[in-house]
Symmetry: C2
Subunit: 332 residues, 2 copies
């Protein structure tokens, strides 16, 4: 029921994931039954496909946490929300992973509450894959935690490294600390202290990276406070519309510019695509005892489908238990 | 002597500014005399121009603070640096403004030390004009202060508002607080408290703005901690090279793409230009008793020229004394 285009986009995306998975997994659609059935009806061809029909089911949940609801209040008053019911299915071993494009705060709180934090994890975190000139890089924390202390940044680095090595197959991923200068002494209280912790750790720490390095792909994991991560990610997302607006303004100036803009549209779109969150399909919550993938409120069917595949892979590759083991190695 | 292309770029830019100013102001070139004379020699035509010849002079300063020097140590050991000498000219009323593309930390410290902080200003700040879909907007703090508390953010908002109203002619500029959500309750400790202070102030406060709003031009002043400001600005600067790299990669894929990329080059360059710091010519230091404009290390002659015009205007419009008056209105 979560997300700006729910339940339509969610149902279509889920059915498409099931078809593409060719029986490798099943999806439980959690939410208002009649609404879900209505959307399934609209996807008649897809839902009627034999492979699809056998690999989805519906779990009724009558409450809906809206995008503007206060997470804590909503989780209390709406016990039967699709978020709560969906996560309890996983807690009760009836599901292996949870995916939602709903109220981010509510999904975060409910996941931590219902699945539980892994032992010794101070703050579960979300990591976002961002495009670079080379291969994508994980920005962690992407907005779950603000006012982070050095030890939290160290945890993020560890959890991010494990995610990247498990999911992108990079052995010993290179970790950078987002900072305002290259030198060890640069930064705010948290980053200066975190530099020391990271240097002492067994992680493959490459030192500080600056804002201008984000898109260069020089590191595999970039560690930062969730305030900075959130602002950066949202800024990056807005760059394509800025470009579009500027290019159309130029196109108004002359017929020549207009022709060029028309011709270049495809090229630009190709580049924009990489800055598009939908290609990347949601952000994983790391540090909880299970799998929870959180999508953008504006998730389209394609984004939902990608999130489901991402969630399946996170479960199969046992990211959560790998984190559980590795975190025990950190100094207390 | 400051900046990656100094003194060549600095001398050329300064002479060009003088020529364009048509006698409205003079420039004192501060640094190693023989080096400066050498560069002036290379700009024979420009320097020989009668108007130019009469409007520049040289103030010798033998020490050079390098880009990698530690600001505090360098200011102590290099008493005769071009930064120190130049700022003392202003303190001694022999100059009205100071411009440098040198070591940012050193210019910041020396400006605060030599010009002095304005009364009741806790932390002098730097503001950067960023392009938006509408008119440019001032991001303040752009990197001078980290670990800012709410009262510092309030000061930045006030100083930024005065700069924008004085320099861009906007009466009662709209102020936004950079945050991770629109709601008053969102953010870290500093922004949540700053929201309250800004709401109570006489500033034209529009509430929180998010990363995705930066390029929309919905506000005239965006307030943030210098850590976030620095990371964002450097990230924004790197976007054009990311685009260039991606477009050239697409161009390699087919002759059609190559032709389009060639044709679109001019259009793209037009858009990129706006993301280019050089067009904007340096950032002002606000909250000191005088005028100090700090340029990018990579400042070209054009950037230097723009910085000089910016500095002149800041002096003429008496930004510093307007801030001095306004800050007294803030609750202690």
């Amino acid at each position: 029921m979560g997300g700006d285009y729910a339940p339509a986009a969610v149902v279509t995306g889920a059915l498409e994931a099931v078809r593409e998975a060719q029986g490798r997994f099943s999806v439980i659609l959690v939410g208002r039954k009649e609404k879900i059935l209505e959307e399934i009806g609209k996807n008649g061809d897809l839902a009627g496909h034999e492979m699809v029909r056998e690999h989805y089911s519906i779990e009724p949940a009558d409450d809906v946490i809206e995008m503007h609801d206060s997470p804590t209040a909503a989780l209390k008053s709406k016990q039967n929300s699709s978020i709560g019911v969906g996560l309890r299915l996983q807690r009760d071993k009836k599901a292996d992973a949870f995916v939602s494009a709903g109220n981010t705060g509510a999904v975060l709180s409910a996941s931590t509450l219902i699945l539980g934090r892994l032992k010794r994890v101070g703050r579960p975190t979300i990591g976002a894959l961002i495009p670079t000139v080379k291969s994508p890089c994980l920005l962690v924390d992407a907005g779950a935690n603000v006012d982070c202390r050095a030890k939290h940044l160290l945890e993020f680095a560890l959890m991010g490294s494990i995610y990247v090595s498990s999911m992108l197959g990079k052995t010993d991923p290179v970790v950078g600390l987002l900072n305002i200068g290259e030198e060890e002494s640069k930064g705010n209280t948290a980053t200066v202290e975190a530099f020391g912790l990271l240097k002492q750790s067994k992680l493959n720490f490459a030192g500080n990276v600056e804002g201008r390095d984000l898109l260069k792909g020089t590191v595999d994991v970039i560690v930062c406070d969730g305030f900075v991560g959130n602002v950066l990610l949202k800024f990056g997302e807005s760059v394509p519309s800025f470009f579009k607006a500027k290019v159309s303004r130029l196109a108004e100036q002359s017929i020549r510019q207009k022709l060029i803009a028309l011709l270049a549209r495809g090229t630009l779109r190709g580049v924009m695509k990489e800055l598009d969150y939908q290609e990347y399909g949601g952000v994983p919550l790391l540090g909880v005892d299970g799998v929870s993938v959180i999508g953008h409120g504006r998730s389209t069917p394609k984004a939902i489908k990608n999130m489901i595949f991402r969630a399946e892979e996170t479960a199969v590759r046992q990211v959560s238990s790998r984190i559980a083991q590795a975190i025990l190695q950190l100094p207390e």
